[in-house]
């Protein structure tokens, strides 16, 4: 059962990830990206990391993607507003993509991935365990990242204020 679910979710994730790139309409891309997120959240659930799954949905699908969609809807892209693709840019894009692909394959090839399941504590993904780890072992990185967010927030507020004064 779990195995079939895993295959289904992986299939869904990969197909919709491809569709994100392939589909012409940016709104469709965003929607496929959301499906991808859901598939990945499903993987988290399969790994018994429910907290991560829920937060993944709330933050990525529920907030960030809504903002993406918001901006794309506001811009109202259409065929006319699409930037023209010259031959040169197409060639450059293909080369860059190809190099990236080769790098990825190379990295995976030389890295010995341990694929055997169950080598970690099954309860590690639950809220309680996660909280304990976050506030003891990883306290410093946790606090630093929160500082980072605070700085970003302050920056945004500052930028917004400045614009206001000018106008």
């Amino acid at each position: 059962m779990t195995l079939y679910l895993f295959y289904f979710l992986s299939f869904l994730a990969i197909i919709s990830a491809l569709m994100v790139v392939v589909s012409k309409n940016p709104v469709n891309s965003v929607l496929f990206l959301i499906i991808t997120f859901f598939a990945i959240a499903g993987h988290y659930v399969l790994l018994n990391a429910q907290f991560l799954a829920a937060v993944h949905i709330i933050v990525y699908a529920g907030a960030i993607m809504v903002l993406f969609l918001y901006v794309i809807m506001m811009m109202n892209f259409s065929k006319e507003s699409e930037p023209s693709k010259t031959k040169l840019s197409q060639i450059v894009a293909t080369v860059a993509g190809g190099i990236f692909l080769i790098t990825l394959i190379g990295a995976l090839h030389f890295y010995d991935v341990d694929m055997s399941p169950g080598h970690s504590d099954p309860g590690a993904g639950l809220v309680g365990a996660l909280g304990k780890v976050l506030f003891s072992k990883f306290l410093l990185p946790f606090e630093i990242s929160s500082l980072l967010f605070l700085a970003a927030m302050t920056g945004v507020v500052l930028l917004g204020k400045k614009n206001n004064d000018n106008s």
């Binding site: 709104v27 929607l31 429910q50 829920a54 949905i57 709330i58 529920g62 907030a63 809504v66 918001y70």
Partner: protein, 343 residues
């Protein structure tokens, strides 16, 4: 003896049907309440006291012509109301509708599933709900719909934050994310509203905003946006949107009752009723009484307060509710420290 799967299936179907039924009669109640608050008597033609009015409305919705605008994106146009309805129906599964029924030695809790992150599940589903509105509004290819959709999305994101903070304070107090455990804790008079009054206030304001109910019904305000995101919708697709709103209202009321008002607990009930099963059923009855009160409260507010202006809405959300909810988190932490519950 009923097998686990059938029991869960029956429970899911019951929850689903009850949600639909209550949403149906909420439309009727809304019109009755509106009428009564305005010294009128409301619908009274279909059946005694107009009790069949929702059926008549449903038949009307089904019979109406389906119109799909030519220029719209057809798939997304249909997907919009489906998502709205789906997410509205999904929330009911984590709410404990009552205690545990014991039939012939088997225990049947009246909750579809008690996941240990129930509250986060609720938040997650609510945050997905906005896609129904956004997709529908965008696919309509109509400027009013689009504006409605944009308003809905920014409003929901803004108020989700404050709602999340209010819940964080609540979770700090209860120490669990499971909805069942939270309602189990509130026996007697230990309702969370007593420990989290400010949190409750923030939560209920955000609940109004999240369900797009007046005074925060800007996404569909008639005076400036015609119908808002569902301007182009007709027939049962429109019905789905309207229905989803009422289901959301029902679920929000249930969540408020469960998180802050003791869920299925009633003070002193245990002294008079000793049979566990009877107690569980009575608890459910009282839970529904609480829910109905909050549904009434939603309507009462709607027919009392005028609609916010958009900048006022944003001001309230970002500059008042979020700082207040942060303050609430801080106060909760300090109080917990002072009372020695954390070190």
């Amino acid at each position: 003896m009923v097998s686990f799967i059938t029991y869960k299936l029956i429970l899911v179907i019951i929850v689903f049907l009850v949600s639909l039924l209550i949403a149906m009669y909420s439309t009727y109640a809304e019109r009755k309440v509106a009428a009564f608050l305005q010294d009128r008597i409301g619908p009274n033609r279909a059946g005694p006291f107009g009790i069949l009015q929702p059926l008549a409305d449903g038949v009307k919705m089904f019979m109406k012509e389906e119109i799909i605008p030519d220029v719209s994106n057809k798939w997304l146009f249909i997907l919009g109301p489906c998502i709205a309805m789906l997410t509205a129906c999904m929330t009911g599964v984590v709410i404990p509708w009552g205690g545990v029924l014991t039939i012939r030695g088997h225990e049947y809790p009246m909750q579809v599933t008690d996941i240990n992150i129930g509250i986060l599940y609720l938040l997650g589903v609510v945050s997905i709900g906005v896609y129904g509105i956004m997709i529908g509004g965008w696919a309509s290819n109509n400027k009013y719909s689009l504006l409605g959709a944009l308003r809905a999305s920014s409003q929901m994101i803004s108020y989700e934050l404050a709602m999340g903070f209010a819940i964080i304070a609540l979770v700090m107090h209860t120490g669990t994310l499971s909805v069942r455990e939270i309602s189990e804790m509130q026996t007697g008079w230990h309702w969370n509203i007593i420990y989290q009054p400010l949190g409750f206030l923030i939560f209920i304001i955000c609940a109004f905003a999240e369900t797009n109910r007046a005074p925060f019904d800007l996404p569909e305000c008639e005076s400036e946006l015609i119908g808002g995101y569902h301007t182009e919708y007709s027939s049962m697709k429109l019905g789905f949107y309207l229905f989803a709103e009422y289901i959301n209202m029902f679920i929000s009321s249930a969540v408020i009752a469960t998180l802050y008002f003791g869920g299925y607990h009633v003070p002193f009930l245990g002294r008079f009723v000793h049979d566990a099963n009877a107690l569980a059923i009575l608890g459910s009855v009282f839970l529904f009484a609480k829910i109905f009160f909050f549904i009434f409260f939603f309507m009462w507010i709607r027919w009392t307060l005028p609609r916010f202006r958009y900048d006022q809405l944003m001001h309230l959300g970002w500059k008042i509710l979020i700082p207040l909810s942060l303050l609430n988190v801080a106060i909760t932490g300090i109080l917990m420290y002072l009372t020695g519950r954390i070190h």
